[in-house]
Amino acid sequence: MEIYRFTARQLSLMLSRKEISCEELVRLLFAYIEKRDPELRAFLTLCQESALEQAKASDLRRSQGRSTGILEGLPIAIKDNICTQGIRTTCASKSLENFIPPYDAHVIEKIKEQGGIVLGKTNMDEFAMGSSCENSAMFPTLNPRNPECIPGGSSGGSASAIASGMSPLALGSDTGGSVRQPASLCGIVGLKPTYGRISRYGLIAFASSLDQIGPMARTVEDVAFLLQAIAGKDNRDSTSLNEPVPDYLKRLQEFPAGIRIGIPKEYFFDKMDREISSACQKAILSLEKKGAKIQEVSLPSTEYAIPTYYLIATAEASANLARYDGIHYGHRTSEKNIKEGCGKSLDILYKKSKGESFGHEVKRRIMLGTYVLSSGYYEAWYLKAMKARALLRQEIQNTLSCVDALITPTSPIPAFKRGEKISDPLAMYLCDIFTVTFSLSGNPAISVPCGTNSQGMPIGLQIVGKFLDEETILRLGYACEPN
């Protein structure tokens, strides 16, 4: 049985009809992972033993008529910055190489409560800082569509696992595009929900005012399904929103007739990759044929989004990553280094522990963040960025009061070759140009595949919704799929 071809919804039906047992399903998937992962390297940790145990427990519950929830028996891959009790969680960093969380993240609790099965932990750019998965301190992950290319990032491991069929479902995290961009580059579906829709409890923080956990899968229906399982208020994350969670699957297949879609002209500029632009235009045209009202809109502050995003994200990161001090957990420098510190040994402990265990991009972002927060620069950079954020947010909310959704390409370029941008940080930052704006504003945004270029590499369409209106963008995304 070609297990990797099935969607989560199909697997769920097969399990409930007893066409396959959960144990068989998990065994087949691990056999397939054994075949594919040595090349793609999407996983940092595989949890075969515990997954099989969970699978047997799921089969037992089912046979006794005690199935627990919508994810019963479904395998899920988890990005390695989401804490899993008893399972190593590294953030793809040397600093957390041996970190075993003593608790589960809120989303993991929800997955377990509903019978989901954790397959393993996926590779990422270190501390989610990057757009290519090349910043992993462990190894790079490859794009299943072309192994010479990067899978995107930072949730590149999750995207590669889904695109290759090693897992039907995955969780990623998105700070400036880290779910949407790899989804686009690997030809799968990835959703960044509204900021606050999903609890961040147990998500290792990068930039707290921007981080959101997001579901990834091969179909919009599967993404909706996983969102349903993990969305909602959690008291342990004070920014999670106390708003009712709608039934995302109920009207998924119904096209929202008469819907007004805005196309921001700044996202289809002259020098853009022609193939990406035309694939997106084609998708927009097909939505128009189904009854959407398309209109051009303008988001003139877009050109300020990259500096605004990187100033805020690095400032927050510099504070969040101060905790890896070599004392409470994580890497500590050798006793020899500490002893040589004579009188300054605590200082040496901090500096060497961080200096030895953080990769170059992480150090660069902590340095940049500390710089823009430091005395004399705070107002010119950080405060300026927070004001720009207010303007950007206002502009988007104003636009979204005239239309129901926005459509843009997800990424200005398709998956690029490994090594192509790694030595040019600014070029790498510019990969996020279409996604960061909606991270700054907090709006939900989904990337759905809308074709391939002449090299066969996937192109993604980004659909942005009003605050807490995941439902509409899921329905539009569904309408873009070949049905």
Binding site: I100, P102, Y195, L241, A322, G343, S345, R364, Y371, S374
Partner: protein, 95 residues
């Protein structure tokens, strides 16, 4: 213009050891990145209230109820050095 002295000062503030080569690279990288970011200065932001977050949530309160938290033993498991209920750090008073 980012200088080597500034990079050394910032590295001291965030307590990260950088090799001399890394310091030089940092000067170049931050210089390139910040020159591009200068663009932001064009954007007029007088009288704009800064946005700390994308949502307006203030003062989230809860009842002050005692709850079981993680045990010391569980917390200590990830500590590089832990003895008798304490995180061990190097001696920091004069020898």
């Amino acid at each position: 213009m980012v200088t080597l002295e500034e990079i050394q000062h910032i590295a001291r503030l965030c307590k990260i050891y950088l090799s001399p080569e890394e310091e030089k690279e940092m000067v170049k990288d931050l210089e390139t990145i910040l020159s591009y970011f200068q663009k932001l200065k064009e954007l007029p932001t007088e009288n704009v209230m800064p946005a700390l977050s994308s949502i307006e949530i203030y003062n989230v309160e809860r009842e002050d109820i005692e709850k079981q938290s993680l045990t010391l033993e569980k917390i200590a498991r990830n500590a590089p050095s832990f003895q008798e209920g304490f995180f061990v750090v190097p001696k920091i008073v004069g020898t």
